[in-house]
Amino acid sequence: MPELDIVPSTDGEVLLRAEGLVKHFPLKEGIFFKHQVGSVKAVDGVTLAVRRGETLGLVGETGCGKSTLARSIMRLYPLTAGRLIFDGADLSTLSRSRMRPYRRGMQMIFQDPYGSLNPRRRVGSIIGDPLAIHKMAKGAGRTKRVQELMEVVGLNPEHYNRFPAEFSGGQRQRIGVARALALHPKLIVCDEPVSALDVSIQAQIINLLDDLQAEFGLTYLFIAHDLSVVQHVSDRVAVMYLGKLVEVADVKDLYSTPRHPYTNALLSASVVADPDKARSRDRIILSGDVPSPINPPSGCRFHTRCPKAQALCSTEEPQLRSAAGDPASHQTACHFPVADGEKLASEKAAILHAVEGFLAEAPSVGAGSREASAT
């Protein structure tokens, strides 16, 4: 795998760099003597860099390997291949005990505010856990520090002795944030931190994360499948499909001129709150399902569903590079990137138009539905 410099060196210092990161989960068979029959290629060669102080959004649909990438970066799994460089140190092959000192610099916020907090332990001891593990504070000092952290994330420090079950979902996620902050990390990997929360609570947590970033100079790797959330929080966005990055760009560029057909499809599928606008938009509807990561397609992994696919796509794998006219920070892994103003339409979209046409021709049904939508 050729080494790619995604970030121009003038663009600030790189805090975390993953080079050709691979994580395969072996599939084993056999009753007594297990032998490997294949592997789930959850992350299959991801190269990315996170700059100090920025928020890098990572989007992709369910099962594309976002969470596996996050956990690989946190070194919760041994890596299958690739290099992981954090703050100048190569973490890719460190053992669990050798890894421990580096964990001070990188922490994680988990998706599920219910599952990620031990139900049988008090909030004070959960938040104080990182301090205890890294022997940073003891006794009254730890209590004081934990209560400070609770105040920072907007929890009542008096609730120190409560159990997680006594808090709401949003409050629990604040507990998770406080735990991640306890060691003053440089990088926080946020694995869908708001997707399990109500929309109103989502905004609170996102604003909290924003404030904390400004206050402590944090760097975020922010994983989500909600494109509007990612647009709001990110400086740059990386799009993932079936274990690989397909497009990386500054947030403005990605949302205004998406180059990869998959990014186009993803953006066209995002929910728009205004029904009139939603109607006028062209939706790109992809045919088929995501292929199995056990046996991914050859060449470009998206070619089986891509409206622009050609013979080349199934034989040669495209590398991340800047398309003509794009800034160096905007990189796309596509042989035939989408040009400005180009419309991607698929057959299914045409069927939808046909349905609308049918509704328009049938006056009784059409009029009724139009009246209903007008009121």
Binding site: R100, F110, N118, I133
Partner: protein
């Protein structure tokens, strides 16, 4: 519930504003205690167990007051003119005497000491071993789990009386040996439950969170996973105590446990062998105490299990409803 009102009033310390604090959350322990308090069977079992503990503690006092040793025959007063044992209610002998003229009440009190000591100590040892073995097997999995799980299966399917006979014939009967044998045959019951629970708990996201904080395996096992296993372990341990007491009585009855003349309920029953209906008090009283003790612990174990599992609230409700009005 009466408990909650008590709590609110005690929580309102003079320095703190009770109204501002609002409703006090209840810890799992408080909830369990509150549920146990509504369960009359549990209360009765606890009272019974406390009475037996009191009897065991007061054994030297009883011996002192009556002036009867638990092991030595009372040659002058312990038998009637024909040298026969005294029935219950005889002067100075509430529960009568045995064929050597020893006071059965004093012997039962000392026997209670043995039974409770064996029951609690053997269960404690079995619980510690079972929790450690189960946690290691369930948490690490793989070959370690295969080995430890097979060992536990073997222990559970072992003919333990035969094993005890062999051990006693090699080392000679003694109280510590009895306790160790019982602990050895009990740990697997707890170990299997803990293993199964640990297997499911280690997949939880909070374990992953602990990993990401840099926690070591030992810390994850004993600080993170163990608190989630407390409920089943407590229930099982409570139910193991009566099993251990019966185990001890069985061994002593067979002459493999506590050595005579030290009294134990088991060897008292053994002494009563062959006396038939003539001296019924030889076996009735040790049997009654054995029954009362094991029954109380068993009922308490069931009550604790119900109290620890919030889902059984419905069972309680149904039980209350079913009662004839």
């Amino acid at each position: 519930m009466s408990l909650s009102t008590v709590e609110v009033s005690t929580a309102a310390a003079p320095t703190e504003d009770a109204a501002a604090k609002g409703i006090q959350g209840r810890t799992p322990l408080q909830l369990v205690v509150a549920r146990l308090r509504t369960d009359r069977v549990a209360i009765a079992s606890i009272v019974m167990i406390l009475l037996i503990v009191l009897l065991a503690i007061c054994a030297p006092l009883i011996a002192h007051v009556t002036g009867h040793s638990p092991t030595e025959a009372n040659v002058d007063t312990g038998t009637d003119a024909n040298g026969q044992p005294l029935p219950p209610g005889s002067a100075g002998y509430l529960l009568g005497t045995d064929n050597l003229g020893r006071d059965i009440l004093v012997r039962i009190a000392y026997g209670a000491q043995i039974s409770l000591l064996v029951g609690v100590l053997a269960t404690a040892i079995a619980t510690v071993i079972g929790v450690v073995v189960g946690l290691f097997a369930g948490y690490y999995g793989g070959w370690l789990d295969s080995i430890l799980a097979r060992i536990m299966d073997v222990v559970l399917s072992f003919p333990y009386v035969l094993f005890a006979i062999v051990l006693v014939s090699v080392f000679g009967a003694s109280l510590p040996l009895t306790i160790l044998v019982i602990a050895f045959f009990s740990f697997a019951a707890i170990g299997r439950i803990v293993r199964g629970q640990a297997l499911s708990q280690r997949e939880k996201e909070y374990v992953e969170a602990a990993h990401s904080l840099g926690a070591g395996d030992i810390r994850i096992m004993f600080v993170d996973i163990l608190p989630n296993l407390v409920a089943p372990v407590i229930v099982l341990a409570t139910l193991l105590i009566p099993a251990a007491i019966i185990f001890e009585a069985t061994l002593s009855f067979l002459g493999l446990g506590v050595e005579p003349p030290t009294p134990s309920w088991g060897n008292m029953l053994s002494d009563a062998e062959g006396v038939g209906f003539q001296a019924w008090w030889f076996y009735i009283f040790p049997m009654l105490f054995l029954l009362a003790t094991t029954l109380s612990f068993n009922l308490l174990g069931d009550a604790v299990r119900d109290a620890l599992d919030p889902r059984t609230e419905r069972i309680f409700a149904a039980r209350r409803k079913r009662k004839p009005v």
